[in-house]
């Protein structure tokens, strides 16, 4: 308890002071209430959107479920496709060289710049959003899987060969474990990309989802609801990312962090 207090106490204090100052400044007219809605107003807005919903019956839970559902659909499809493809490409250096320019270019395309094209192809419905998320996640994921497989320490492979390990055993017992930390890092990065893309994709052609909520709230001059939506997006992104990190630590205890690789 004491440790906890000395660690988080100052931050918490700063936070409380800041909120109080903000509340004071808006209620006394130093800040415009529409531009900087007071914390109390945000809290009231949250009660409203959690019970009655905004716009019309769409509570914050519905928006959240919709957004998370869209992200997961695109994300899982992208990861499911990128892992086997990435292993294949990473394992054969000729294949890697054949595909290198395509992968570099595919990754450089700004995902949201595809929005108009994807709308022409699939309309403004659900598929468009899922495809965009899938596209963004796919390239992040596949480049990391390829790098993970390609940069497995050759000493490890040679050592395993010396001990007579080859074929599928070499893959399962040496290459896969060595590549996993990088693959997990890719999975986390891809999720970040998914969150980024969904917010943009939801701003057009829908009223459901957190991205739509924050945009719609602005149209109705409900800035406090915009802020609530932003915070919820941030909290969910944070929770899922730290969930993945814990999973990673549990599943691959030999992962000592990827600082070296990232540099």
């Amino acid at each position: 308890m004491k440790d906890w207090l000395s660690r988080y106490g100052p931050s918490l204090l700063v936070f409380v002071v800041l909120l109080a100052a903000w509340e004071f400044a808006t209620t006394n007219g130093y800040l415009k209430p529409y531009r900087f809605p007071a914390p109390s107003k945000i809290a009231m807005g949250f009660v409203e959107i959690a019970s009655e919903g905004f716009p019309e019956d769409l509570t914050i839970w519905v928006h959240t479920r919709t957004t998370v559902g869209r992200i997961l659909q695109g994300y899982i499809a992208a990861v499911g496709l990128a892992i086997p493809l990435g292993f294949l490409i990473g394992a054969f250096s000729t294949l890697e060289k054949l595909t290198a320019p395509l992968i570099i270019f595919g990754r450089s395309i700004a995902t949201l710049s595809l929005l108009p094209l994807v709308i022409v192809w699939f309309g403004t419905g659900e598929l468009t959003k899922v495809v965009l998320i899938g596209y963004g996640c796919f390239w992040t994921m596949i480049s990391n899987v390829i790098a993970g497989v390609k940069y497995v320490d050759p000493v490890l492979i040679r050592a395993a060969r010396t001990f007579g390990v080859s074929g599928p055993a070499l893959f399962w017992r040496v290459i896969l474990p060595a590549a996993l930390p990088r693959i997990f890092a890719g999975a986390r990065m891809a999720l970040g990309v998914g969150f980024m893309v969904i917010v943009g994709a939801e701003m057009i052609g829908t009223v459901e989802g957190l991205g739509a909520l924050i945009m719609e709230a602005r149209n109705f001059y409900r800035s406090e609801i915009t802020i609530i939506g932003m915070l919820v997006i941030g909290i969910i992104g944070f929770l899922i990312a730290s969930g993945l990190l814990h999973l990673e630590k549990m599943l691959i205890p030999w992962d000592t962090g990827l600082d070296e690789v990232r540099r």
């Binding site: 270019f105 949201l112 710049s113 022409v120 943009g200 924050i214 945009m215 941030g234």
Partner: protein
């Protein structure tokens, strides 16, 4: 890490690219796929050239580049400054860190409505969004770099009598440089993504606007050319920044 590219690699890469482009071109020309929805690469460029003049495209491109460079520059500078201050001075860290940690998980695009509320629909709101795209990755990477500098280096420097600003400038910042470089590259990527999105949603010039407007007119070829152009710009500018970083900190670290 040796990254030499041999002639054979280029050849293989070329073959791989053609293996995608040629069937696409054939499919679009022979009508297997509808060329008005899925235009062939060559036809898309020539027909887009009829609809848009080069000066128009250059004008859009100029605006996009101006926005992204200026927003990124300010965002990265602010991120470096605040990251160093928060990482080096304990009190400042207590004040700044909770705010940064709270706001960091919010994707920059989620700031679009608030940016419009604060700054209106004009240039400043786009500027602010691009600023945010660069700021958060740079500030966290800088903070991390500064707090993770090898304590032995710092103690050694103190033994030699360095302290205060000198210690910060001559030991800590060079020590944090690799982290900083990572943050800058991530920040550039994010700024670029944010630029496109901001131009799609609210702008009257820029490449993002160009392709969104082309959709309203039904010009799929212009959209395709625009997407490719944005991709190429992203690739070139990222390469340029990577090169600058390598030149800039190469004397301290192997990158």
């Amino acid at each position: 890490m040796s990254n030499r590219i041999s002639a054979k690699d280029v050849l293989l890469g070329g073959i791989g690219t053609l293996a995608v482009l040629v069937p696409w071109e054939i499919a679009a020309r022979s009508g297997i796929v509808d060329p008005s929805i899925f235009p062939s690469p060559i036809l898309a460029i020539s027909s887009a050239a009829e609809k848009l003049s080069a000066t128009e495209v250059l004008d859009h491109m100029g605006w996009s580049l101006f926005r992204v460079f200026s927003g990124f520059l300010l965002g990265a500078l602010a991120g470096i400054t605040i990251g160093i201050v928060a990482g080096w001075y304990r009190t400042a860290g207590y004040l700044l860190r909770p705010m940064i940690e709270l706001l960091r998980p919010i994707p920059p695009l989620a700031w679009i409505p608030l940016a419009i509320i604060w700054f209106g629909l004009g240039e400043p709101s786009k500027f602010f969004l691009i600023f945010l795209g660069a700021f958060f990755p740079v500030v966290t990477a800088t903070y991390q770099g500064v707090t993770n500098v090898d304590p032995i280096l710092i103690r050694a420097a103190q033994t030699f009598g360095l302290k205060g600003i000198d210690l910060l400038v001559r030991i800590v910042i060079p020590g944090a440089a690799p982290d900083l470089a990572t943050g800058i590259r991530i920040g550039w990527g994010l700024s670029f993504g944010v630029l496109v999105a901001a131009e799609l949603i609210a702008a009257d010039k820029g490449l993002g606007y160009m392709i969104m407007h082309a959709r309203l007119l039904g010009y799929v070829d212009v959209i395709v050319v625009g997407i490719v152009l944005i991709g190429i710009l992203n690739l070139l500018t990222d390469g340029m920044i990577a090169w600058l970083i390598k030149k800039g900190i190469g004397r301290w670290h192997e990158v």
